[in-house]
Symmetry: C2
Subunit: 291 residues, 2 copies
């Protein structure tokens, strides 16, 4: 059996599904590894690193005709989907519930699709296959760093001869893996952190990291299956947004990580919230665009 | 007496010598404040903010003809220097010992120049005028953030279901105000930090921040006047560089803050050091360009 590693085509995607140091482990398990030329470039893995590890560097067309298992991060583009066939398996973070035409197209071709974002993360046995948690960790960590780098002041309290800098007030929306990592990183940097989630049971996790949990009076609890949040009704959503807007205006940095499985993430920071932060009364200088 | 705030001309310089909230304090002291149009743009202070605070927005030519005291961050460019005259004062971080033709030109025109980087920082009375320490604090803090954002792994130790990420090894060269702030910020983020300075008395400061102090066997102590480092002899410099190169190759992120007053900062990370980090034995992927 041959495993083929696709070069990602999503704009801005720098990751690769398999790193060179994993090639020998697949080979020991009796698999051959094919890597599309340039697949690792964005992640600083040259073709030569894969070749040295024992993989064959091939074109996309060779890969699609020879591989029994095709691995990717995000959904492949149309030409790849069109070239897959019955008997082949596609493994990745495929997000099948958003735009379900994609899953239908694979099913019509008889392709076996395994979407790692569908793994139940609360199941201990599945943790070795859990690709989502590590990515959420990276995203939360990086969000706090990007926020700190873009913020016009310091995150920590600084007492200097030239005066005292107040710590930044950071608000994290959504306290799953990404949110908790963002809270921890912003706290490490010395910020004063608040967090909000529709799942009230996350309060103790937030507080264990030294952040304060914001409880909205206008929305009831909304925990869904498998530890995730459920989608809110339209009425709940509007009440939530109105109350959140007041909190957003009182913070310096907002990090949004809220997600509901299989749906577009909720829009929590509205134009109106941004406008209220821009008002002369609340120090207009605080808001800057982040690339 | 009128105080004029110049718009900076150094490429990449976004700072401004006076912020709007200080305008009323100068006016209370009986000074008029002139601000060159656009002076605060890079720092997100609009002309209107200065005008509201009581300053007059003027052209550069008006400013230079009317102001008795001209304030700036970096050295003004040639046209400004050529327009200054006897009886005027120029205040800024002028760095007069680097390229002394600048100070000679001001002296020839009879301009009184006050360079705030020349203040003795160890003198308690001077701390209220100490512009250098706050800027060094910002630089050290930001250097650690830029390093963390550019680094391909995490700074902290992370133990996850997917495996353990080792903490980053950060080396800070020079442990003045900027270096100590870089150490503190990298430590806050969870990195393992080492530091080096030619002044052995900084060892206890480094260790009090939880970092380890690297002692080179090839160079003796080189503390200079006023708590700064002295310049090394050519022989000392070469021995230092050779020994440092070995340490550099063992670290993931290098932050350089070493400076000697009135001189070009020493070149501590050589092409050879970078080349040794690039060798296949020491994981070539670690080095990436930072913009």
């Amino acid at each position: 059996m041959k495993v083929g590693v696709l070069k990602e085509t999503t704009p801005g995607e720098r990751r690769v599904a398999l790193v060179p140091e994993m090639v020998p482990r697949l080979r020991e398990a009796g698999l051959e590894v094919l890597v599309q030329s340039g697949a690792g470039d964005g992640a600083w893995f040259a073709d030569s690193a894969y070749a040295q590890a024992g993989a064959a560097i091939v074109s996309r067309d060779e890969l699609l005709s020879e591989a029994g298992i095709v691995v990717a991060i995000s959904r492949p583009d149309e030409p790849v989907i069109g070239a897959l066939r019955a008997g082949q398996a596609l493994v990745g973070l495929l997000n099948p519930l958003v735009g379900p035409g994609f899953a239908a197209a694979l099913a019509a071709r008889g392709v076996t699709a395994i979407s790692l974002d569908g793994l139940p993360r609360t199941l201990p046995r599945a943790q070795g296959m859990d690709a989502l948690t590590s990515q959420a960790n990276v995203a939360g960590y990086k969000a706090a760093l990007v926020g700190a780098a873009a913020f016009a002041r310091f995150f920590p309290l600084l007492i200097t001869a030239a005066g005292t800098a107040r710590p930044a007030k950071v608000l994290v929306l959504g306290t799953g893996v990404a949110g908790l990592q963002a809270i921890g990183t912003a706290k490490r940097l010395g910020a004063v952190v608040s967090a909000y989630d529709v799942r009230p049971q996350t309060k103790s996790e937030v507080e264990s990291l030294g952040a304060s949990f914001i409880e909205l009076t206008s929305v009831g609890p909304a925990a869904g299956e498998g530890g995730y949040a459920r989608a809110l009704t339209e009425e709940e959503r509007q009440a939530q947004q109105a109350e959140l807007t007041g909190h957003i205006a009182r913070h310096d940095v907002i990090i949004t990580t809220a997600q509901v499985p299989g749906r577009r993430p909720p829009l929590l920071v509205t134009e109106d919230a941004i406008r209220r932060c821009w008002s002369p009364r609340t120090r207009s200088r605080r808001w800057r665009p982040v690339r």
